[in-house]
Structures are given as structure tokens and as C-alpha cells.
Amino acid sequence: MEGRPLVRWSLMIYTGLFIVFLYGPFVVLAILSFQAGPNGGPQFPIIHWSIYWYKQLFSLNPPSSVAPLPIGDALVRSLILASVTMVLSTVLGTITAQAFRRRFKGSTLVFYLVVLGMIVPGVLVGLGVALVSNSLDIARTWWGTAFATHVVYTYPFAFLVMLAIFNRFDRSVEEAAWSLGVPPGRTFRKITFPLIFPGVLSAMLFAFTLSYDEFPRSLFAAGPDLTLPLAIYGTFQIEVHPDIFAFGVLTTLFSFSLLAVYGILMALSLRRARKVAIQEEAA
């Protein structure tokens, strides 16, 4: 590297471009969210800087011709949906990965069946769910059909994360526990789980963010009550105001805070792992 300026420069340019494409849209969004209101539109130049559109989100502005953004309920729905999906997918993914620690008959088939959920195009899955529920006369709801499709979609991710974690897991630690007289269930709770917990956190993060963002499956499966991505898409159908950008900024900050929570939990779990004491056992 030292002696190859060409390689170094091209790598630097590549990295720079990567960062621009990664963060560029967000930066543009963030700048435009500070557009003047209520007459400023979603384009440059900035008339003057203001936080009008942020206030608009929380209905703090005097009445104007711009209607409030109809996403409040959708946000709540999406948060609930993502949380429940996260829990179920992580539990299923962990259990399935645990099963895969031993070879069993048909394990390859089961593996591909599970992974299929993230490979099949979302639009097709959504469409399929819509057709099936129509023909079976099942009502399409965000907490029913959409929830099921979200789990089918996020469960493989959680499964793969846990599979990788178990791959590196030293089985003899569990065997040591058994040989000390610890029954398998307790071994899993007290020995295995604390050791795989960082992996469980990662699986949860995956499942949450994937579900929170999910669009194509929800589009067909969610029914009349929209999830957040659908609601945002819906606002584009009328007139786009910078309040949607303000919301974009806030929701991105929310994602970052999720990452921060993940980081903190990770650090805590590592520290707590160092402190899990016998006292728990006394209870």
C-alpha cells in the first residue's frame, strides 16, 4: 500500500463515493427539512432556515393550507408490529438454530425452507398473501396477515445470525455443565444463553429494523390500516411538503438511537456476563 499511490488513491476515492452515496440522500433530506414554511417547497434553494416543518409534525403551527401529516397512527402500528415481530422471529430463529446444532434428517430441506422467506421477492409474497386471504375470506390486517408475513421475512435473518453464533459456540461448555449435574434446560438458561446473548441482540436488531422498514409485503398484506412505510408512501400521492423530510430526519435519528441502545446493551451484557454471580442461583 505504502508504495502504490494509485491503489491508495483509488481506494480513497471509492470509499469517499461510498460514503457520499450512503449519507448524501440523508443530508439532502436533512437540509430540506429546515425549509421555511408554510410556503417553502421540497426543493432548493432554501428560502430561509426554520424549524417550521418540525413544528408541523407535532401540530404546533397555526392552521394553514397544509394538512398535518397523516402518519401518527401508522407510526404506532409499525413500532408495535416491529417489536412483536422482533420477539417472535428472534425466539424462532434461536430455537431453529439450536436444532441445527445437530444433524437431523431433512435438515437441508428445512434450512432452505426457512431461508426461502428472505429470498422470495416481497411483492410476490405480499400478492400471494392477499390472494390467499381473499379466497379464504380472511381479513387482511396489519396485526394479522402483515404480522405473519413480517415474521416469515425476518425469521430467516434471525436464524442465520444465530446459526453463525452457534457455529462458534464451544459445545464442551454445555457438556461441562451437564457433567456437573446441571439439567439441560437450566444449562441453556444459565450457561448457553448468557454466552449467545450478543448474538440474540444482533438478531433482534435485524428483525426490528427489517420489519419497521418493510414495504412490499405490507403493501398487499396490511389491509386498510397502514404501517409507517405505507403511510409515508401515501403522502407522496398528494402533495409533498418538507414535513415528510422532517419526519425522515426524526425516524433516522430513531434508527441511530436503536443502534446506540444495541451498543449499550451489548456493552452491558459483556459487563454483566463478567458479573453473573452465584447469587442468582440462590433464588
Binding site: S172, W178, S179, L180, I191, A277
Partner: protein, 393 residues
């Protein structure tokens, strides 16, 4: 491999070299015709018979893949037993899950709980047994002191040295007072010096505790030093089960003769008995040695096993003549092709007339080094008593 050598002597393998014991005695550990076949049809262990008395230190030794670890894991309850029976103190434990067996296992990587302190590691088994906190603390403390772990009791396993981890693993397993301690290559992860000292500690510990140790290793030296009896395994079956001394002095199969000690193996055909010794016709003339209670008839393919330490070297000297070796001695002649001195030991490799090579070990002061240098002609001899005649398989 394990075919019975003397069909008229109905002695099962488990009985090898054991005194006959009254039938009422129940053994600490007993394996009856144990067999392990994996799902893909691989036979890992076959015809494994073993009876271990309380307080015995028994080793399973053999090359990797010989089934020694699998057998240990069947005793521990980590592997299902395909056929046969495992009994601990007369009780069949085939179906008992690992956590309910009165065994405890030490693993090669020690398998300490990384998220618990040394103290917590040691107390954990007691906590699960339902001991009151004060009681288990006292017990753990006793074990910590016994194994000199007081300094590190509050530390996490990842901050410990190999020897310390080893002792934590021992403490953790012993504190739950198992009937039988199973050790799976416990010295494998340690460096040579540490291995030596821990080896001694282990032996002392076992003597003090008086419980049965089953020790798996691929290092014959560990097995020979530590054990009361050694099971030599090869390809899933027992090659020989005897005391280290017997194993070393009287190997029963060519495999054992090659695996244990440093023996020269010279093939030939049985001639017959003379003066209580077997005589074998080899390309180097007739060689004699002690039989092994085996039914070897004239003409049977046989191997003369000569321990390399038993061999005397007779430099041909300037005359080049073959020295007289005496009536009871066996002799070979050949040319030195390698000569190394390590400390006080002289290691020679002598190539015989037919190209076979014989290793010789001797004290360095016994010979003038220039007479046993590479290229010198030498004669080798040993007392016929020292060598063993075994059947070629």
C-alpha cells in the same frame, strides 16, 4: 485385530492381566461389550470390555480416531451407547442422562464458564445440587485452597494461565464429589514443562482422593507414568489392557509393540521352543525371546520385539570381526546410519543386512563415540529374556 490369540484359553479381553475376582465384587466402572456406531455407519468402538476397581487410575491411549474419546464420552453420557452396557458401581447407566451420572468430566480446553468468576465456576455445580450458600461457599473454599487458587478466585477464566485453568477445571469437577473423574486429554493444551508438573499433581490428587480416574490421552508417556492400568486402543478396539510395566515389557500385538516404548520389530517364522524360550527364524538368523502365553506353532509368522534400551552395541573395531556374543544372547549386525547424542543418551539407527532399521538407545558413556559414528559396522546383542515373541497379524 482383536482375534483371540489362544482359542483354547477362554479369557476375555477384559480379564487380561487381572487377578480373578470373586463374582460378588461390584466394580466402580464396568463396560460390557460396548459398541458405538455413528449414524453414517462408521464403527467408532467395538467389543469394549473393561472392569475398573475403585480408586484405579486407568488410561485409554491410542492414535487419534481410535475410539478412546468416544468411549469416554459414552461413559460421561455425551454419546449414546449403540450396544452393550456401561455400569457404575453395578448400576446400568446406559439410559441415564449426563447430568444424573456420578461422573464429572475434564475437557481438553477445560470448558470453564467464561461468564463466571473462578469461585462461581467452582460453586456452580454445588448450587445446582441445592446446597445452602454457606455450605457451598465453604466447600468451594476448601477446594480452592487445595488447588492453590485463592489468588485468582475472583478472576474470570480468560485472565488465567493454562495451568491455572487446568486447576480450576479440576476443582470444579472434584467439588461435586463424582464417583469417577473422566479426563479427556487434559494435558493436551499445556506446554511440555507444565504438563510434567501437572502430571505429578494429578497423580498425587488421585491417590489422595481415592476415586477412579479415567484418563484419555494420545501420549503414551503420560499413560505409562500415571496409570495403574492402560487400555491401548486402535481402530475402535482394545489392543491390550495391562499394567504399564507389562505393556512395555510384554506387548501382545505388533501395534502395541510399535506404539508403546521404542522397540525394534524383526519379522520371521516360528521354529519352536528351546530352553523355555521361543526361537524364530529371521533373515538375520535364529533369534530367541520369551513367548507371551500365545499359542504359536512352528511355521507361524512371528515378530521378535526388542526394546531399544535392552540392546548392547558391539563396535566391530579395527579387525572388523564379529564379537562373540555368548550363548544366551541374540545378535544382529549392521551399519550405523544415524548417531545422535541427546544429553546423556545415545540414539543410534542401525541398518541391517536386509535394509531393515533398528533403533538403539544407550547411555552415552558406554561407548567410544567414534566407534559408533555414522558408517561404522556394529553388532547388536540383547539377552533373549528381554525380547518378546508375538504373533504377526
Amino acid at each position: 485385530m482383536l482375534r483371540r490369540i489362544a482359542p483354547d484359553l477362554p479369557v476375555s479381553i477384559g480379564d487380561c492381566d487381572r487377578e480373578r475376582v470373586p463374582a460378588t465384587v461390584s466394580y466402580d466402572l464396568e463396560l460390557r461389550d460396548v459398541r458405538k456406531v455413528y449414524g453414517n455407519g462408521t464403527i467408532a468402538v467395538e467389543r469394549f470390555d473393561l472392569r475398573v476397581e475403585r480408586g484405579e487410575f486407568i488410561s485409554f491411549v491410542g492414535p487419534s480416531g481410535c475410539g478412546k474419546t468416544t468411549t469416554l464420552r459414552m461413559i460421561a453420557g455425551f454419546e449414546a451407547i449403540t450396544a452393550g452396557e456401561v455400569l457404575i458401581r453395578g448400576q446400568r447407566i446406559n439410559e441415564l442422562p449426563a447430568e444424573r451420572r456420578p461422573t464429572s468430566t475434564i475437557f481438553q480446553n477445560f470448558a470453564l464458564f467464561p461468564h463466571m468468576s473462578v469461585q462461581a465456576n467452582i460453586e456452580y455445580g454445588l448450587a445446582v445440587k441445592g446446597l445452602a450458600p454457606a455450605e457451598r461457599r465453604a466447600k468451594a473454599r476448601g477446594m480452592i485452597e487445595k488447588l492453590e487458587l485463592a489468588d485468582v478466585a475472583a478472576r474470570r477464566p480468560d485472565g488465567l494461565s493454562g495451568g491455572q485453568r487446568q486447576r480450576v477445571a479440576l476443582a470444579r469437577s472434584l467439588v461435586v464429589e463424582p464417583e469417577i473423574l473422566l479426563l479427556d486429554e487434559p494435558l493436551g493444551a499445556l506446554d511440555a514443562n507444565l504438563r510434567k508438573s501437572i502430571q505429578n499433581e494429578l497423580k498425587l490428587l488421585q491417590r489422595n482422593l481415592g476415586i477412579t480416574f479415567v484418563f484419555v490421552t494420545h501420549a503414551q508417556s503420560e499413560a505409562l507414568v500415571l496409570s495403574d492400568r492402560v487400555v491401548v486402543m486402535n481402530r475402535g478396539t482394545i489392543e491390550q489392557l495391562s499394567t504399564p510395566y507389562e505393556l512395555y515389557r510384554r506387548p501382545k500385538t505388533p501395534f502395541v509393540a510399535r506404539f508403546i516404548g521404542r522397540n525394534a520389530l524383526i519379522g520371521g517364522r516360528m521354529i519352536g521352543l528351546s530352553d523355555g524360550l521361543c526361537a524364530v527364524d529371521t533373515p538375520h538368523g535364529a533369534l530367541r525371546g520369551r513367548g507371551n502365553g500365545e499359542d504359536l506353532g512352528p511355521g507361524d509368522a512371528a515378530i521378535v520385539v526388542v526394546p531399544s534400551e535392552a540392546i548392547d552395541i558391539h563396535p566391530a573395531g579395527r579387525s572388523g570381526g564379529m564379537p562373540d556374543l555368548g550363548r544366551d544372547a541374540n545378535g544382529l549386525s549392521g551399519q550405523v546410519i544415524s548417531s545422535d547424542v541427546v544429553g546423556h543418551t545415545l540414539f543410534l539407527v542401525v541398518r541391517l543386512g536386509d535394509g531393515a532399521e533398528v533403533r538403539v538407545e544407550s547411555h552415552v558413556a558406554r561407548y567410544a563415540v567414534d566407534l559408533v559414528a555414522v558408517g561404522c559396522d556394529v553388532a547388536l546383542s540383547w539377552a533373549a529374556e528381554e525380547s518378546t515373541i508375538i504373533r504377526q497379524d
